[in-house]
């Protein structure tokens, strides 16, 4: 794709980030399959060991291979983050674009709903949502998606507003173009690059949120590993394995960092004029 090649050429940091994302995407799809050992195989006698040739990243509290668990845990965290970002995109972008065309009162109300969503303390609300409505990852994903939607709303709305007030839209409407045609041809072209950038950084924020929630134990279905869950259980054995938390922490941080780098570069490349990242909404 044209965009990707342009991104590739924009600097070595972006290249590194793209490679990292490629590796992560592979894990998300085929993680459990390429894990070197069975992530569930317990071996109490060799619990909490340091890295060795048999276990490249050591073993956890039940003697399971950490590297394999990292691979196997990738899909849960990554796909949830992807789902949450997608939910946010769908819930936020279309209403955001449409809000530029509705009468004043409706518009004001829609803006206030968005403000209300942004006024909710992110992680707190996600925790409460998940804990009170059944302790599962789907609920958590839904909560994150809803809370991420306002960012998409604003971006779509801002881009649409810019387009709405431009003269060639007036000309097109005068010439008989329907609202749908305007939306799908002109608005989309304006909005799309901004949405892409927002989606990439929202993905990073969603991954952080999923990691935080699984860290607190929400949405964890043992014995299946998750990155946040591994981090949390490693905390309990810091004395025996001080470098334990490093593996899942790095996995999370490196992935999110790569996403942010790509988002920034994409903003430059696509000429999107979206403001700085979705980070405002995601506070852990």
């Amino acid at each position: 794709m044209n965009t990707v090649s342009r991104l590739w050429r924009s600097g070595w940091t972006v290249r590194l980030a793209l490679l990292i994302l490629l590796a992560v995407a592979t894990l998300a799809v085929a993680g459990p399959a390429i894990a070197p050992q069975d992530p569930l195989a317990q071996d109490a006698a060799s619990a909490l060991q340091e890295p060795s040739w048999a276990h490249l990243l050591g073993t956890d509290y039940l003697g399971r291979d950490v590297l394999s668990r990292l691979f196997a845990g990738a899909p849960a965290s990554l796909l949830s983050a992807l789902a949450a970002a997608a939910i946010g995109l769908v819930l936020g972008a279309l209403p955001g674009a449409l809000s530029a065309f509705v009468p004043r009162v409706g518009e004001w109300l829609a803006l206030r709903v968005v403000d209300a969503l942004l006024a909710l303390p992110f992680i707190l609300f996600a925790i409460v949502f998940a804990a009170l409505l059944g302790n599962g990852l789907p609920q958590a994903t839904l909560a994150i998606g809803i809370l991420v939607a306002p960012g998409f709303f604003r971006i779509a709305r801002a881009a649409t507003l810019r387009v709405r007030d431009s003269p060639y839209i007036d000309a097109a409407t005068y010439l008989g173009a329907s609202a749908w045609w305007v939306l799908s041809r002109h608005v989309w072209r304006q909005v799309a690059p901004n949405l892409v950038v927002a989606a990439v950084s929202a993905l990073g924020g969603a991954l952080l949120a999923v990691a935080s929630l699984t860290f607190l134990g929400i949405g964890v279905q043992p014995p299946a590993p998750t990155w946040g869950g591994m981090l949390s259980s490693d905390l309990g054995y810091l004395g025996q394995r001080p470098w334990g938390p490093l593996a899942p922490a790095l996995a999370i941080v490196v992935t999110v960092g790569a996403l942010n780098v790509v988002a920034d570069a994409a903003r430059d490349v696509l000429g999107a004029d979206a403001p700085a990242r979705q980070k405002e909404a995601v506070r852990v």
């Binding site: 206030r112 707190l124 925790i127 409460v128 935080s212 001080p242 938390p245 941080v253 980070k279």
Partner: protein
């Protein structure tokens, strides 16, 4: 060339005519901001209340624990007013909240307002500490980076802020614990001592959580300040000042910084209120009995009144600070942001 981000208010041009001070537009702005804030508050608290109501948790099972029959469940539900229609309960709750009555915990029977009053100073201390560290660190970093623009120091600071912005608070918290629990036992790694017991112990116990929480805000402030300071330093009036022979320190601190601080401070304004209720995981990791830990524990216990109360207070703080910020920014001539 000026680099202005979408959030930055335009720098006031030198020699522009003073705006006419009339009461009516100011009043209109204040009323509009107030109306917005109230609407947002009501919507957000409605969502919170609906969440609690949808949870299906009931006080009898939570409170009685040992011997609760169906009769007990019905009795306690009636006692807590849970058999009334939803809207009635919501309005009752909001009306009570305004006067400081937030109900009682289903689990301990302690009034929610009391629990919040005890947890709030803890969260406030951590948030204030994080804000101060972010401000000091962010400003120092931003100024240094802008002043040495393009050099090694600039690149280093930019790299550090990127890392700081990416590392989530709880990962930083774990790192700090590893460092200070096992390597250098300098600060306590858990627990909170109130200032009226010992100011020194209070400050000590705040260091690590505030540091962990400040990374994100500090990085954003540093980057924001660097960008706007670089832009401001390229303005004509700065060149003029330099030509006049003013020393570089004076130029930076007395002429450029006051103008360039605007967007950085508004960034802080966005981050700061969220720190009050949002530091859940940091509080859990460091064992700080603040609002985040209170809400987390209550949510896991199904103690709905406490959860709703904490969320309400946090929302109120965020909305109030946002409204104040809006007013300040609009008075300073910036673009109006929404209430959050």
């Amino acid at each position: 060339m000026t680099i202005v981000t979408a959030e930055a208010p335009p720098a006031p041009a030198i020699g522009a005519e003073p705006r006419v001070r009339s009461a009516v537009p100011v009043l209109r702005t204040v009323l509009a901001t107030l109306a917005t804030a109230v609407a947002v508050f009501l919507l957000a608290t409605f969502a919170t209340f609906a969440l609690g109501a949808a949870s299906g948790s009931n006080p009898a099972a939570v409170a009685l624990g040992e011997v609760a029959t169906q009769a007990d469940i019905d009795r306690l539900n009636h006692q807590f007013g849970l058999d009334r229609p939803f809207l009635v309960r919501y309005l009752d709750w909001i009306a009570g909240a305004v006067t400081g009555q937030l109900g009682t915990s289903w689990f301990t029977g302690i009034p929610v307002a009391d629990s919040i009053a005890q947890a709030f100073p803890v969260s406030l201390s951590i948030a204030a500490g994080a804000t101060i560290i972010a401000l000091v660190g962010g400003f120092a970093g931003g100024v240094l980076a802008a002043v040495t623009r393009g050099g090694v120091v600039d690149r280093l600071i930019t790299l550090l802020s990127t890392v700081a912005a990416t590392v989530p608070a709880f990962v930083a918290a774990i790192g700090l614990i590893l460092l200070f629990a096992y390597a250098i036992p300098l600060f306590p790694v858990a627990g909170y001592t109130p200032p009226d017991k010992s100011v020194g112990a209070w400050l000590l116990c705040l260091v690590l959580p505030s540091a962990a929480l400040s990374l994100d805000a500090g990085a954003d402030i540093a980057r924001q300040l660097r960008t706007s300071l670089v832009g401001t330093l390229g303005e004509n009036f700065i060149v003029g000042a330099r030509v006049h022979g003013l020393g570089p320190a004076r130029i930076v601190f007395r002429h450029a910084l006051p103008i360039a601080s605007g967007p950085a401070l508004s960034t802080l304004g966005v981050h700061a209120p969220r720190l009050v209720g949002g530091a859940v995981i940091t509080e859990v990791i460091f064992g700080m009995p603040g609002l985040g830990q209170l809400a987390n524990r209550s949510a896991l216990q199904g103690d709905v009144p406490v959860v709703q109360g904490v969320l309400l207070v946090t929302i109120a703080v965020i909305v109030a600070v946002g409204a104040v910020l809006n007013l300040v920014i609009s008075r300073a001539g910036g673009t109006e942001r929404s209430a959050a």
